[in-house]
Subunit: 219 residues, 6 copies
């Protein structure tokens, strides 16, 4: 049996980054963990059309994996297809956005979100409204870096630290969430620098999925 | 290393029931799981004074277990001492009330709570307000059975089914939570009878703790 | 120029019903109004996979109509593709679900929703959370009739009246919304019988779109 | 038949400004549109006593116009007398504050309000609470200009741009509302400068009233 | 100095009832307490036009009493003119609706409202939204008795008991509020019958005003 | 009979400060007012373990005072033991945190909290969620002064003014709350400097208790 992590974009680099992020959990997972990209997906999920457009191929991919699956994780912070996949599958299904929020709820009173792009903030707010979690949001602030800047690790970490400090000090966040699937490599350093917990969504969802696989033993 | 489940009352029967409820998860847990009662606790947590009064002995009990602990679960639906234990311990700490709510959030849009006593409803509502989750509550309805009736399994199941049906049909709950630590043995039958997921809080919290132990590998 | 009403299912009967429902507004519309079905859509939008699956063909359909369009209405109560179409089009875009809610906000303090199926209630609640409108919801109650019963007009009206009475008297709704695209023919009779306003979503959205076309003159 | 826009203050200048703001919509309106001032009203609605005090004369004015009215718009951002006029009239009644909020809901996820005076912010927040819309508010910030400064168009526009930029960048507003009846002439330039939609309340309400007049054909 | 209780209707009977309701507090009040009717007011506040229409004469009445006033209480459950009177007066001003809600917040987790007429429920909900207190409302249910029935004390008490029981048992209210100024004579019996606190708004506001007069000594 | 103010820490200085703060109300109080420290309490309530740990000795202290008590005030802004003491006592029980919030609700639309330490902000937010009052919170900002700085009155007042100004101007608070039991001596100066009401929690609670003692005459 396998825990399938479904990255709904077609990027091998992002998928490998997710694999590396969750790799330390393999040692204690009761099942194999495999990370998949979606060949039919875009290079990155950036627009609402991307979010909606990946659902049907994602459902097809998951349907093919259903029989040997212990659980599924949808590995995009916008949780595309999460509701549809829960409707389709008889196995536990978790989204990395939802799991990051739920994990943060146990680590602080108000979470701050470090988004990549300004344009995604409204989408997060809408999702948090749909989840009924807006009262736990401190603020969602974009780091607003372009592709070139994001490839500069020192620049990216400095910006994460700057915006994270603002979320902590001005917005009273006592836990932070990395608002995208590919920032796990900054998590621990950021946590140590800021002195409050920082949640990586892929790690949070994989951890919850491992728990849910255990829970399924009670049925 | 051990996952410690701390029942803050002094009942051996309740503690053994919790142990039985989470036993199937031992097969996939990366660490030993031990259930403890609290010798200084009351026979049952029924009043606000009970909730507040168990905190100091619970903290002392956890402090003695800290070094060998992978994680702690506070096993009373009112989550007594949860905030204080998180403040004290460097290990993951989960409450069964909180974990039941968070698990239910991933299984439906609005959860119904099957409380034992009418008197606990207000306490649950207050906790849900503190957690910012009231928009996800369908309703909280007591089964209002006395001790004698609760010892009659058929009577108890009939009443759980009756109130659960009301929560599902009149209050539009699409997932139910058993609002106390000792009802796990009814969970699966109730789920099958009502056709919607039913969450046992001890199982939910243990599952989340297993996930959190995995997550700790990423630090 | 044309106001395009896009029914995202492939049913000619439903599309004709929508056309009849909004027909009286043609006399005062500054532009032509055309109702379209979606050939690639399912016979009815019933599942989350349906909701997500129609988005790409709907976007393609709207893209082909963009140049001559004054505005678009997405004519399914679940508002599939609403956010994506707003992202794509430079013209006003309205969804019938959203428009029904906004119209109801001006006609009463708390609206009741008459859903067809129990299964859609959770989806409505989630949408209302995303829209931040849950405080204005009295209750959402399904009439739960099957296809055969729905074809019996007297039976359907009796059931709408029964559930509408409950929403008005038990749940304190002072305005009702027909929670589906095909019930407009019952609207006026139901309003007269219950004595509170009843909103048909297709009519509400078409009216708002006519207003928005007027508003566009100010740019 | 006529759409009556009722400015509840006695200023001819403000009334003429409203008339100019909505003038482009006359070309597509199915009925004549007339703007009225309230002779018994104050020069401007600035205090709660003003808000409450204009209701009775406003009701009298509307009563005299009832027979030939297609709809009424109350043209003060505080929506004085809106509930009372709805109670009195059998025609559609819209307030410019309410209409601005509802229109903004379809143009972005969180709206920012550009208020004239700090003292009106609390009144807006209270109204938004009464409407159940606080979750959609990004922030309400006053431009805090005096009468002399407001008569300097360049100064006013610069200040609107400054505060609008803050609402967009610090408060994550993705749509703005001009929080008073007399700022329409800045709307388009501000929208172009800031790159997000800007709603003028008089225009929004007139557009909604035109839609509502169309909707009335369905009864 | 005097605590002035301003009943904004013109009924001597209602005013005398208020006087009787608060009379036991005179023994411990540091100032004289006087109840006034409003000659210009209607016989009863029943419509929104009544609510808005009494504000100006109420302000005039209070202005004439300002110098010798220790505090003001507006004695109608709809709190007409409360905001305007606070704006006008330099003395503490309390409304009986607001005071009833605030008092109930300290006596239970969720309050039920016993309204007289169905038509006032929406107005209460709107006020509670403006006050941000909707999460504390269990339900608002009308007793819906006509004038003749209200003059029958046994009939009225039976109906209060019936609806109060429903609020307690079905809606989980743990404190009740009498939603009108003239029901104080039933309060104690109802409280004893139902076993949960029952708040009379005139008494609650007078008590808070006495406290506020004490607080003013600290300035 | 006596109004007992129970400071749950063991500091004589703090208790004397509370006594001085409420002293002006003694002249109009119908009963004696006595301030107590809690010998078993910590020097100050700073952690969650402190909050939970003082409950049992506080209950014991109150039990010994019950017979001669008119009312109790729990005099720590975190309101430790408030729910438990209400459960135990037949007399009115008020907490200073709760009373400060309720008083602020009548003095403005959105309150700002001046906390001492950053670490207490999350606890306040949680309490406000439990009370359902988050929509009335403008912001909670710490003055973050150490013990040495707090003993410097000029330094402390300057910092209160600085953060109070920010709460008023950036966060739109129109009333402020001193978020701790020992700041009453700054209240009036701060109010005069900032031009908006400032609430001291001990004074607010004592005033409400005096009102509640009056109210008890109606039973």
């Amino acid at each position: 049996m396998t825990l399938h992590i479904l990255n709904p974009n077609s990027s091998r680099v992002v998928t490998d980054g997710i694999d590396a992020a969750i790799d330390p959990m393999r040692a204690v997972s009761p099942v194999e963990i495999r990370c998949h990209l979606l060949a039919e997906g875009p290079a990155g999920i950036e627009t609402q059309a991307h979010v909606d457009g990946v659902v049907l191929p994602l459902l097809a991919q998951a349907r093919a994996l259903e029989d040997g699956a212990s659980a599924f994780v949808v590995a995009c912070f916008s949780d595309p297809g999460l509701a549809a996949l829960r409707e389709q599958s008889r196995k536990p299904v978790l989204g990395i956005g939802e799991s990051a929020y739920l994990t943060a709820l146990t680590l602080g009173q108000r979470f701050g979100i470090l988004s990549i792009k300004r344009g995604s903030v409204a989408r997060h707010i809408k999702t948090l409204g749909a989840m009924g979690l807006l009262d736990r949001l401190a603020a969602d602030r974009p780091i607003d870096l372009g592709v070139a800047e994001l490839s500069d690790r020192a620049r990216t970490f400095a910006r994460l630290t700057e915006i994270g400090t603002r979320l902590r000090d001005d917005d009273s966040a006592d836990v932070l969430i990395l608002g995208c699937a590919g920032m796990a490599s900054y998590r621990l350093d950021l946590e140590n620098t800021l002195g409050i917990p920082v949640v990586d969504p892929c790690q949070a969802a994989t951890a919850m999925a491992i728990g849910r696989i255990a829970l399924a033993r009670c049925s």
